[in-house]
Structures are given as structure tokens and as C-alpha cells.
Symmetry: D3
Subunit: 164 residues, 6 copies
Amino acid sequence: MKRAVYPGTFDPITNGHIDVLEKASKVFDEVILAVASFTGKNPIFSLEERVDLCRKSLIHLPKVRVMEFDGLVVNFARKIGALVMIRGLRAVSDFEYELSQALMNKKLCEELDTVFFVPHNKYLYVSSTMVRQVVELGGNMHDMIPECVEAALKERMKSLAEYK
Amino acid sequence: MKRAVYPGTFDPITNGHIDVLEKASKVFDEVILAVASFTGKNPIFSLEERVDLCRKSLIHLPKVRVMEFDGLVVNFARKIGALVMIRGLRAVSDFEYELSQALMNKKLCEELDTVFFVPHNKYLYVSSTMVRQVVELGGNMHDMIPECVEAALKERMKSLAEYK
Amino acid sequence: MKRAVYPGTFDPITNGHIDVLEKASKVFDEVILAVASFTGKNPIFSLEERVDLCRKSLIHLPKVRVMEFDGLVVNFARKIGALVMIRGLRAVSDFEYELSQALMNKKLCEELDTVFFVPHNKYLYVSSTMVRQVVELGGNMHDMIPECVEAALKERMKSLAEYK
Amino acid sequence: MKRAVYPGTFDPITNGHIDVLEKASKVFDEVILAVASFTGKNPIFSLEERVDLCRKSLIHLPKVRVMEFDGLVVNFARKIGALVMIRGLRAVSDFEYELSQALMNKKLCEELDTVFFVPHNKYLYVSSTMVRQVVELGGNMHDMIPECVEAALKERMKSLAEYK
Amino acid sequence: MKRAVYPGTFDPITNGHIDVLEKASKVFDEVILAVASFTGKNPIFSLEERVDLCRKSLIHLPKVRVMEFDGLVVNFARKIGALVMIRGLRAVSDFEYELSQALMNKKLCEELDTVFFVPHNKYLYVSSTMVRQVVELGGNMHDMIPECVEAALKERMKSLAEYK
Amino acid sequence: MKRAVYPGTFDPITNGHIDVLEKASKVFDEVILAVASFTGKNPIFSLEERVDLCRKSLIHLPKVRVMEFDGLVVNFARKIGALVMIRGLRAVSDFEYELSQALMNKKLCEELDTVFFVPHNKYLYVSSTMVRQVVELGGNMHDMIPECVEAALKERMKSLAEYK
């Protein structure tokens, strides 16, 4: 059984991520979407919320399973028996970061390779950060994120605004 | 059966290509290394020689099959029933070219995705062009190319030198 | 009447920005320099101060009008009837970010295009961030920023130092 | 009257070029599409053919005028009284080349600035080179080039094939 | 006497930095490793700790002297009579930042040039940030950092974990 | 004695190259400018002419010696006892190519490192290729190349034009 792991913070999951998962589903027997508990900055959504939004957005992809992890991604990948790690590539700046991560992970875990997918043209400029900013400023991202994510983001922005 | 196609001119095949094929062999049931008859410039080796050197260099990879093709790679991929196309990524300049090719191929053939692998650290700077140049100038590339390729390159350079 | 909008945080305005505005003034009938109230991080100068420094620095450009805005820049651009958005391009890293922003803004507002200017050679490496750092460390930036900005920055650094 | 010049070899003109011209038409009173007689390599189409295909493809844009030029583009721009030069930007590699050209042209002609437009998302990966290659290999580019260009390219490829 | 200065935050020093220093030692008579007191963010290690770890890691390089500095690096370089500044280059994103810094420093101090070294292949993807992250997540970096740095990092992570 | 080698085709030498040599002269006891006999394409100037133009342009730099070489540059560097190789860095595309060359040369000759210099701001966009193109099209490059190079280029262009 060929299993791949697709790690990230998914804060929140976007249609770009889902597009990568659809492509990966054709290649692998199982794809574990691995939501990192550690994000390195203050996430908009808690780990539970991020996992929950991923699950709701991926019901149509039976080969994809959502899990959470902490610690090094290579250790998690080893534990679940993943053959490769999956990453999306959108831009040159992505590429440099991803290349150094791939080389570092290869060093930390000799048997784990990284495989890159390119999302559909229309998602090339979509990132979780950009989605958060646009919605925070009152913009509409409904082509770029699943419905449940859009609802959750608007809810979150409303309660953040009330606190100020 | 999950079949991938890895197209290129392979003029000549390098250890960087072979490293990508070893990684791809773990993911796919069959990998077709597809040698392009059309190279867009004067190749050092004829189509037959390029195919032959690939075959000799890949005996240890039973899942890899070497074929030649002409015309558009997406048409060839469709004909042989390939699920995805494989490409290696070494550098930012590679990445930009490969990204535009991947988007163009996706446009020419909606169902064909491109999957990228990163070769091992020690092959990151190896290209067929650099190999040809170094050997032409008398350098030794034996860590970077299969033995049969090194022998063929030296032979070729010798006969080119005699013609001058 | 052809109106363009040049949005940013301008924390503070530099000679690079002013050079872009001088070029844009030749092309458009009116250029709105739009100072963002939301900066995404702690600005050195308040919105009022940033607007004030822009106004003082642009007295010689009668076609340029300084305004503040909040929310999405595309909404502001629509409200004031801007034909295009203006951005400066200095480096590859700029370019990637600006390209994704331009594509996103095009998506959010179909009729709004982005037009890029390249500042003069001598300003290619100047950014607001670099200006703040150099002045903070005691350096002299007088060729790179308007006089009023230099005075304000030194004043601000002095009061920040007293707080420590 | 605000006149811009959009120079290139246009071998052949693509929908990406036309998209840039449509955007520029909104900003300028007149846009001169300037077809270079000197291409630095063997063009597929002669100067007359390239000019002719541009004219046929741009009938719907009354503000655009097609002219040919030889020598330095800055001299041509000066002669026709162009305020700025227009260029399209698609990718990082484009950007670096265009930046150095813009700086060089600024040096050769102090009063001439370069203004960059980004073509629509769907044309980001289209170049004249890629169009020629795909059609040469038998592919279909009808979304990416005007009808008259597609017909001319197929005609040309047929006669090239007969020569071989 | 040819003296070079190699400035940075060194939070912490890595084998990549040491590799650059070994190369620089062959070229210059003395290399001052200059540890910045100001880091622009919260460092993991205090200035004293960073200096101490550098000294312990560089005992085998008699031409290298570790000093601390505050303020602009060009002022420090001038004070100690440095001929040039040294920087390591690993990736394209590094390069753009370093190029703008080099141009800015040249502007701030006309007589000070910057000289770039490329670390060994196996250190190309190592940065202080990545080292901190991997150790924080429980990973092993012993090929990438000196022993004393590894011990100090583990100690620090342990006490940070206890605070939580 | 610290000797460096600065290899290239120098077809022709530009003020950007000379700026790099002036910087390198401050660091090294001797700098060998090594003109490659093999250029990989048709050079404008013969090897003798290129060497001659370099010599005439570098009379003011007594530490620089002009030599020609063929074969691998690492073999030449070893033969003349060079400590390091010098290269100029202007742009990201330069950087990627130079990085792969530096890594390859390090592999071919373990003891030879590459050291990079950044030319002055005003030469950042100057390349031999651009110089040839501008002069060929009738432009004036007198700030960018030595006088003797400008005269030789104009002479060459005149005789090329007569042949047509």
C-alpha cells in the first residue's frame, strides 16, 4: 500500500491544498493530511478547528485521511509508514524554501523523499496568509476556499473585531 | 497499474536522472523513460545512442522501461496510458521553466499532471550540458555519469577532435 | 480623466517611492497615493504621521494627492474611480509577491489592472525597512529619504531610545 | 497626447501580447506596437509577415498602431515621441531580463521610462517560443493565439516539413 | 595586513558559517567574526552566549578572532580597519537580500566591498533558523552544528519546555 | 603570495569586469585575468584580440596579469597556483549559474574555492552580450566599456555590415 503524507499548518485549508490532494489521490493509495500542532506563530484557528475544517472540506476524497501531529514531520512520516512526503509548489520563493526543507528532511530521514505537485493555474497565487488578509479586510474569497472555511473565517473575524 | 512517464532528451543520461528514476520507482508500478527524437538543437548522441545508453544505465531498475517518442509529450503520455509526468527539479531557473511546461501540458491534456522529484544533494548541480562541457574540456565526471556514458562521451570527443 | 492609485504603508516614504510617483505623474492625470491604515505589523509612524510625511515630501508633484484608506485596496480603488493600480518593482522577491497580489486583485476586481514602474538605479536597493534599520543603528540615509522624513525618523529613534 | 511604444519581435504575436495591448489601451491615447526587423536569431516569419499578423490580430483595438523599426528601440521611441515603453511580465526570468533592459534603456535615453503590465492569469505561461514548439510538434494552441496566427503557423510548419 | 570582517547574529553558529570561515582564512591574514548585539528579533542565545559558542567552535582557526559590535556594521568595519566584509551565499533568496545589503553598505562606506563565499554543498540548506526549529522539535543536527552548540541548544530547549 | 584567477571569455571586457578587478586587486597580491580560448559560441573577437583589449584596458592595475588558457579552468588554476577563483555577481540568473559552476569546480578540484564580488551599482546591468547588441544597433556605450573596446567594436561592426 502506497501511503503519502501531506504536512502543513492548514490555517486554513484552501482550494489550492485541495487541488493538490485531488492530484495526489490519483497517485497514492492513501494520503495522510497531517496538521501540525506547532505553527511557529499565532494561528487564526486552533489545532482542533484546523483539523475539523480539513475533514469537512475533504469528504469527497475517500483516500485522504486527516491526522494531527507534533514534533518533526519526518518522525511522524516514519511512524505512519509514509513512502513519500507531498508538497505543493506555486512560486519561486516557495520553491527555494521547499527545496531546503526537502534536503533537510532527506538528511533527517534517508528513506523519505519529497514529491511536488503544482496546483491548478487558478490557485497559483492563493495562500492561507493571503486568504486570511483578504477576508480580514472584508473581501470575498469564495472561489478560493471551501464554504465551511469561509463561514468559519467570517465568524472569527467578527469576534476578533468585537474584541478590539 | 500506475504508470508514469519521464520525458527528456537525455543527451546523455546522468546520475541525476537515475536518482530521480530510483525515487520514482518506489512510487509507481512502471516508469517509462521517454527519449525525445526531437531535441531542438544538435545532440551529441543520436536517438539510438541515447536510448542505448539509457537502457545500459538502468538495468538495475526493473520497473523502468526506455522508449523513444516524437511529437508532443502529452500525446505520447496519453497513448501509453501514463497517469502522470515526472520531472526533476534542481534550481530556480529549472523551476520556472518546468512550471510553465507543466501548466502548458495541463492545458494540452487536462488529465495529465506533473510530479516533481528533487535529486540527491550531490547531483543538484549536474546537467547534461555541464557534463558534455566538462568532458569536452578534458575533465573527469565519473561520479556524475554511468560508466558506459563516460566511455561513450570520451569516444565521441576523440572523434570530434580528429575532425577538426 | 485618467486616475491611478499607488497604495502602501509608506512607513516612511522613501526617495524610491517618490521616484515612482514622478514617473507615474507623466503618464496619469492624477495619482492618488493611498496610505493604508492597516499595516499588519507595528508601524514606526502613526497613520497621521505617515500621511503628513507623504504630503510634505510631495509638494513638488501637483498631480499627486495623498489619501488614507482602510479595508481592501481594490474597494478603495473602485470608490475613487482609479483606472489602474501602481506598484514599484525592485527585485525578484518583490516581483513574486507583487505578481501574486496583482493576480489576486484582478480576481477581486476584474476591471482593475496593475501597472509596474522600476525606480531609478540608485534607489533599487532602498526599502522602508532598510531605511528604518540604518537610521536606528545611527546611519545616515539623507540621499535616500526626504529631509522631513530623516528629521522625523531621528526624532522617533531618540524617543524610543529614551524609553529603553 | 500620451503615446506608448510596445516593442518586440512578435514571432508570432500571441494572446498574451494582445492582452497586454488591451490593458495598455485603457491607459494611453495611442499604443505603437513596434515590430523589430532585427531578431538576433532566425525568425519563423519574415518582418512583413509578422507585421501583417499583428495588424490582422489587432483590428479590434483602434488605439493600437503597428509599425516596424530597426536599430535601437530607444531611438525609435524618441522619433515617434513615445512617453514610455511597455513590456509584459510573466515570470521571474522575464523580470530579471526586463529589469536590466529597462535600466539600460533608461541610460541610453534618460527621458524614457518602462512600464510593465501583467497578462491575464491564463496567459502567464504563453510565449512565442512555446507556441512555435507546440505547433511544430502537432499540438493545438487555438486558445493561446489569434486564428490568423494559427493558420499561418500550420502553413509554415507544413512547408518546413516538405523541405526536410 | 589584510583583515576581513564576517558580521552576523550567529544565533547559533553553524557548520555552514565555520566552512565559510575556513575558506576565508586561506585568503585573509585575519578574519574578525563580528557578533551583532542587535538582532532585530528575540534571539535564542544572549550576546555573551553567542560570542562564547563562536569562540569555542573556532579554536582550530587561529586567524579568526571573535568580537561583538553594536550599531552599523560599516562603522565597526571601519573602526577595526577591515578591508572587506565577508558573507556566505546559499540560495537565491539569500542572494537578493545580500546584494541589496552590499549595495547599501557600499553607499554608507565607499571603501568597503563585500566578498561572497559559497559554503560546501552539504551545508547549502543549513541556516540558524532551521537548526533551531529542528532541535526544538526533537531532531538531531549533529552533522550541521558544532558539539558545543548542540549541547547548548538542547539545554535551552529543555528549560524553555519547563517554562511552558 | 596570494594569487587569484578571474576566468571568462571577455568578448569584450567591460567596465563591470574592470570594477571587479579593481576590488580584487585590493584583496589579492596578484590577479590573473584568464581569457578562455574556447567560448562555446562564435565570439565577436578572436582570442588574440580579446587578450589584447584586456591588456590595454588594465594598464592602470599593476597587480593584474592577462593570460589565455584552454581546457578546464580548474586545471589552469592549479597550474598557475591560484588560491581562489574570482567571479562577478550581478543578478539572480547569474547567481544560479555561478553557484552550480562553483560547486562543480569544487568537485573537480577540492582545494579551489570561488569568491564572488559585486560590481558597482552602475554596472549591475552591463554584460558583454548587451554591449555587443547595443553597439551593433548603433548605440553609444562609452560609459560602460573602455575606449579601446568601443573603438574595436565599432570597427568590427562596420566590417560586418560591409559583408552583408
